[in-house]
């Protein structure tokens, strides 16, 4: 992408959630309030961590920011989502989601998985063929999948599968990248490796990342901003920024700053007690 393109990209991102309430029909008959009056604004590139106990409504909130929304209920029940100043009611072209369970296609090679979006009319029209070939090759290189491009996803490890998912999202140069516990199913070591990869990819392709996790350590290691949600119904119980440079070292993790932030998160979760659990990796 040209420099002017990059500048335009950096200049114009904004996602706003305004008084979002989400209710789902509950099995017992009535309705369950899952999200209770959340207002959040994101207006520049950065890694924003959405941290909350499992089942608190993180995925529900994430899907509203330009993802595919649940089919069985009106989403949101009330409130508004604005993307770049325009109300958004459905999947948005500027935003791409990376799922926890990899959505890689077992019938396609790694290369074809990454190139998949360009088989769709939307992107065929927007991106010339030479350009997308270049982008796919570049993403395979950056995610370390270059020599794996002819393999099928079943032949890859969990971490490599998530690299494919990341590459497929980033070939579209999205302005908004939604990540729903993308590394949640990985072992600790692979997770750290993927966090480092995400940081370097972010530095190459800065965009607005909203990253859902229930891992306190992950939130501290990655986030420019950490938003802590209380358990069901989800409310914002804390919202702060971290200015430490990334990648953050193990030393930083043991620093006073990090320890205090960790304590702050845990207290805010405990003062809003609920059923879900969070994880702290040491």
């Amino acid at each position: 992408m040209s420099d002017s393109g990059q500048v335009r990209l950096l200049a114009s991102i904004s996602v706003e959630l305004i008084d979002i309430i989400q209710e789902y029909p509950s099995p017992s008959g009535g309705v369950t309030r899952v999200v209770d009056g959340i207002s959040l604004a994101f207006s520049k590139p950065g890694i924003n961590m959405l941290l909350g106990p499992s089942g608190c409504g993180k995925s529900t909130i994430l899907q509203m920011m330009g993802g595919v929304r649940p089919i069985n209920a009106k989403t949101p029940t009330s409130g508004k989502v604005m993307i770049n100043g325009i109300e958004c009611n459905d999947a948005h072209d500027d935003s791409v989601m990376v799922f926890q369970r990899y959505a890689n296609r077992p019938d396609l090679s790694v290369y074809d998985n990454v190139a998949f979006p360009f088989r769709l009319n939307l992107w065929k029209k927007k991106v010339p063929e030479a350009e997308w070939h270049k982008r796919v090759a570049e993403m395979l290189e950056e995610t370390g999948l270059k020599d794996k491009k002819d393999l099928s996803p079943a032949q890859l490890s969990g971490g490599q599968n998530q690299r494919v998912a990341l590459a497929r999202a980033l070939v579209l140069r999205p302005r908004i990248l939604l990540m729903d516990e993308p590394f949640g199913a990985l072992d600790a070591q692979t997770r750290e490796e993927m966090q480092r990869l995400l940081i370097s990819l972010y530095n190459e392709h800065p965009c607005l990342i909203v990253f859902v996790t229930h891992d306190v350590t992950e939130a501290l290691m990655l986030g420019d901003r950490v938003i802590v949600l209380s358990s069901q119904p989800a409310k914002v119980s804390d919202d702060f920024t971290i200015t430490a440079m990334r990648p953050r070292s193990a030393d930083w993790q043991r620093s006073d700053e990090a320890r205090q932030l960790e304590k702050r998160i845990l207290t805010s979760l405990h003062t809003a007690p609920g059923r879900g659990v969070v994880r702290v990796t040491i």
């Binding site: 993802g67 595919v68 999947a91 072209d93 791409v96 989601m97 799922f99 369970r101 959505a103 296609r105 077992p106 019938d107 998949f116 979006p117 088989r119 769709l120 009319n121 939307l122 992107w123 099928s152 079943a154 032949q155 497929r168 579209l172």
Partner: protein
Amino acid sequence: MNNFWNPYLQPDDRQRRIIGAASVLALLVFWSILAVTGIVSPARLPAPWDVLKAMAYLSWHEGESLLLTATLWSLGRLLVAGFLVVAIGIPAGIVMGASPRVNAAVSPLVDPFRSAPVVALLPILVMWLGVGEEMKIAFLFIGAVVYLIPMVRDAIQAVPQNYWISARDLGATQWECIIRAVIPMAMPRITDAVIVAFSVMWTYITVAEYVNAKSGLGQLIQNARRFSAWDQVFAGIFIIMALALLTYQLMTAIKRKLYPWETQL
């Protein structure tokens, strides 16, 4: 015997082949004993070697092969009907699977035919289409397509939703999600449906060819029966079984070649 009642431990290939061959052999021996001792009269049950001789006779006699001609006729009908089943049944099943509303409208018209006595339709088809090729093809077509359509529909509906969602998230229209994600993921099971359809057609071929029998394996059997040539009747039945098995094996092998990823899921 060790692990005799353990359904998860398969014998290796060699062992399985030996066991299988042994049981076929046992049946042949039993059959031979019946024939030699005359417990069942040869008029009711021809001896295995008589069936073999009948096969040889049918394969080559006085410069022509009745069997080859009959097989080609039957195979031709099967392929024409099979082409129609695939060309009409697969799109129909896909549309039904992809759109619950179409399914709600069409499935009451299709599903009951799965348990309909298809053979009883034969006189009706004769009345409508006469006794020629159209009737035979139509009969095979109906017999197979009523299995194929619901199977294709189920194959589509069995594709996990996450592939649809993920394509949608990348900007696919709903129809593109079906074309680019759901159908490719359903292909192995759709192929299974085609394999079943061909098996069904092989079982119906004789029925289709009984009426106004002029050619085909069904006619060959029907003709032999009229002259009480039971050895030829048996030969004809075995030939059909062998052809059906061959078709099945061939199509399964092709399927495995086309969709190697299915077993890796």
